[in-house]
């Protein structure tokens, strides 16, 4: 019988937080798929179908322990587990091929999202950007290609995230300007709409976004500016969170000779009702349509989880 290695959970959790900060939620899924592929390739333990299934089940449990849980990687590993379970002759090469297909499907989904989002920019607009993701970058490139580039105002947040947006805007030759996120109220009247990159949507209808988003969205709502969140359906979370959605850390900081403890939060949860719509590969969904799609997907997720639990029981995994 095997139990979860808490040290491993801590280590992976720290890594995922850094990856999220540096590359956004889309990059995490790609990195995790890449890391699983590399681990499968280099694994010198029991590489039989049962052996791989056991290790992937344990990894699935580790990934479920992440705070916050990253839905896309859990859904990906679910699919991988199902594939290995359903393939009687699954080998390391077979797993690697499947992971490649998953990565390709993710890229296709993001391209579809970019096409869907482009529909919002038929008229000339001034767009607010705050969070960075590779899907957002893809959308900016796509809008440049079809000559529908909006004017962009970037609300500045953590340096590493803002840098990603600025690089994307620069490489596609956008007309843009930057404003501190706490000074946006002075420029709100210039905006037509706002676009955020979402991490996930939870069971209690909260959309998880990068830190600083909640205040901005609340302000935009009161100013009557529609806010959209890019969030493909493979990032949706279907479980009850036992802990706070946003990971909280207390860090020692100082200003000159003044030392203090600062509370740092990894994300901001925002109610679904605060935004105009979620941009997915299936279209722009309002709150009602989102609930509908969510329920259908949740049923599939639960059925798969039940199957995984029974597999774990069969293999004696706690």
């Amino acid at each position: 019988m095997s139990a979860i290695d808490r040290e491993l959970v801590e280590t992976v959790n720290r890594q995922l937080l850094v990856l999220d900060r540096e590359g956004g939620s889309d990059a995490i899924a790609t990195d995790v798929a890449g890391a699983i592929a590399r681990a499968v390739q280099e694994y010198e333990g029991d590489a039989s179908r049962e052996g791989l299934l056991r290790e992937l089940l344990l990894l699935h449990d580790v990934l479920l322990e992440m705070r916050p849980r990253v839905a896309s990687i859990i859904l990906d590993i679910q699919k991988l587990l199902l594939h290995v379970h359903q393939s009687p002759n699954a080998t390391q090469d077979d797993v690697l091929r499947f992971l490649q297909d998953l990565t390709q499907a993710r890229t296709d989904r993001r391209q579809q999202v970019a096409r869907v989002a482009a529909g919002l920019f038929v008229e000339p607009q001034t767009l607010l950007l705050h969070s960075y993701s590779t899907t957002l970058e893809m959308l900016l490139r796509h809008l440049a290609e079809i000559r529908r580039k909006p004017r962009v105002i970037v609300a500045q947040q953590q340096e590493v995230r803002t840098r990603g947006i600025l690089r994307a805007l620069q490489s596609a030759s956008y007309d843009y300007t930057v404003v501190s996120e706490y000074s946006l109220s002075h420029m709100a009247h210039e905006l037509s709409c706002a676009l955020f990159a979402g991490l996930t949507i939870t069971l209690d209808e909260r959309i998880v976004l990068s830190p600083g988003s909640a205040n901005l969205i609340e302000h935009l709502r009161s100013a009557g500016i529609p806010t959209y969140v890019i969030l493909t359906t493979n990032k949706w979370s279907y479980w009850t969170e036992e802990t706070e959605t946003a990971y909280r850390e207390e860090r020692e900081k100082s200003i000159g000779d003044l030392r203090f403890r600062k509370q740092v939060f990894s994300h901001d949860p925002v109610p679904l009702s605060s935004i105009a719509g979620i941009i997915t590969e299936e279209g722009v969904l309002d709150a009602e349509k989102t609930r509908e799609v969510y329920e259908a997907e949740r049923e599939v997720f639960q059925a798969t989880e039940e199957l995984i639990v029974s597999l774990e029981r069969d293999l004696g995994i706690e």
Partner: protein, 440 residues
């Protein structure tokens, strides 16, 4: 001993004590000492200016500028990320690849630059994959001090010896030092691996940990991909680097001082990459305090020479033994022990004229076979001895400071518990090697 000799000796004690206490910057102490010897008429001003060895200062300045240029062009960062990818996230490979890289880098760069390039990345990587960074940090420190001993430009004591002793060329360093450096490095690696066997082991049969390592590698891969070095920079800096190395290796034939070669390399770098490099900005990277420290020290040593203190020390050494092998061991162990406790630069600066007195014209060892080995005993002792304690070498102090800033606290005792046996291994290797050369 005369009053003047006692005064200079007293000054040396004060300088060493001041350096150990670290209350005032060592450059201020050395310059203060230099002013004292001039004001006290222990050395005339003109002689003091002549005592400053511009071969050493020029070589240091040239190398500092070259390193600053390469840093500004992000070449070190690029190399470090490539090395990280080479490790494939394996603890054993992280240990070997970064350890070997520290030794090789240190042979061509100064040790502090080496640890500044490597240690932050190693802390990120080891932490990221759930390993304690300490064993890896210690290994990098030890190997950078050992590797620095291999070339004339690898460590300040070598620069001093190489610049001030005319009979020693750039090629002599690898000729005499490569073997003990390689054997000592292997010995240190073996010892560290033995001490930290539970940390430094393969993860190939632990799928979950293999995944954690791979995840870190994905991150490094992304960083490496985003750091694009233009081809002209890679090609240009490689060609200049090779030309400088060629200059160093052939200076015995061309009779062009290493200082001139290093300065020429820096000027060439600045000329070729004038669009990317700003001299005014690079000047901030030059360690002017180190150069001032050397200048002040040269004046104090000049005063010691002027008042015949060094002659007295030479006679003292000769009176201890007339056996060269015993003298070799005395120089080796004394320089190793003193380098572990105090800065090795002032010690070597004093020992150079002492040994010159013994080996030079009219010296008691002038015609003794293999007496030149005394230089190599001094170099080995000073470089390897720097590993003995946390304050034994600048790289140790800088590395422990870097680690502390990242939340990895290495105490003096903890350092000594690992460093003392490691240093003992390297000094024993040196003893055997010197004995072998002595009997050859």
């Amino acid at each position: 001993m005369s009053t003047h000799e006692w005064m200079v000796l007293g000054l040396f004690v004060v300088v060493f004590a001041g350096i150990i206490m670290e209350k005032v910057d060592k450059a201020v102490i050395a310059i203060g000492g230099a002013i004292f010897v001039i004001v006290a008429h222990l050395i005339e001003f003109d002689h003091a200016m002549h005592a400053i060895d511009f071969k050493t200062i020029g070589l240091l300045l040239g190398m500092m500028l070259m390193v600053a240029c390469l840093q500004e062009l992000h070449l070190f960062e690029w190399i470090a990320l490539r090395l990280a990818l080479l490790t494939r996230g394996s603890p054993v490979l992280i240990f070997i690849v970064f350890g070997a890289a520290s030794a090789v880098f240190s042979a061509f760069l100064d040790n502090v630059t080496t640890v500044l390039i490597i240690i932050p990345l190693v802390i990120t990587i080891t932490r990221g994959i759930g390993l304690a960074p300490k064993p890896f940090i210690l290994t990098i420190i030890f190997l950078s001090n050992i590797g620095g001993a291999a070339t004339l430009i690898g460590d300040p004591p070598n620069i001093l010896v190489g610049s001030k002793v005319d009979s020693i060329t750039f090629l002599d360093f690898p000729k005499y030092m490569l073997v003990p450096v390689v054997i000592s490095a292997v010995g240190a690696v073996w010892f560290m691996r033995r001490c930290f066997a539970t940390h430094i082991q393969s993860r190939s049969t632990h799928f979950g940990w293999l995944f954690a390592s791979s995840l870190m590698l994905e991150r490094v891969q992304r960083q490496a991909a985003s750091l694009k070095i233009p081809q002209d920079v890679t090609l240009g800096s490689s060609i200049i680097g090779l030309l400088v190395l060629l200059g160093f290796f052939t200076h015995g034939v061309t009779h062009i001082e290493p200082a001139v070669i290093a300065m020429a390399g820096a000027v060439l770098m600045l000329a070729v990459f004038h669009r990317r490099l700003d001299l005014h900005h690079l000047m901030q990277h030059v360690e002017w305090t180190t150069l001032l420290f050397f200048a002040g020290l040269f004046v104090i040593v000049g005063a010691a020479e002027e008042v015949h203190l060094l002659e007295t020390i030479s006679h003292g050494l000769v009176s201890m033994t007339d056996n060269l092998w015993v003298l070799l061991m005395i120089v080796l162990w004394a320089s190793a022990i003193l380098s572990g406790i105090v800065d090795n630069i002032p010690f070597v600066a004093v020992m150079i004229p002492v040994l010159t007195g013994l080996l030079g014209e009219g010296g008691p060892y002038q015609n003794v076979e293999n007496s030149h080995l005394l230089w190599w005993a001094l170099v080995m002792g000073a470089c390897f001895g720097g590993n003995a304690t946390m304050i034994g070498a600048s790289a140790n102090v800088v590395s422990c400071g870097l680690a502390k800033r990242e939340g990895v606290h290495i105490s003096f005792v903890e350092f000594a518990r690992i460093s003392a046996p490691t240093t003992a291994i390297t000094i024993v290797v040196s003893m055997i090697y010197l004995t072998f050369l002595y009997w050859l």
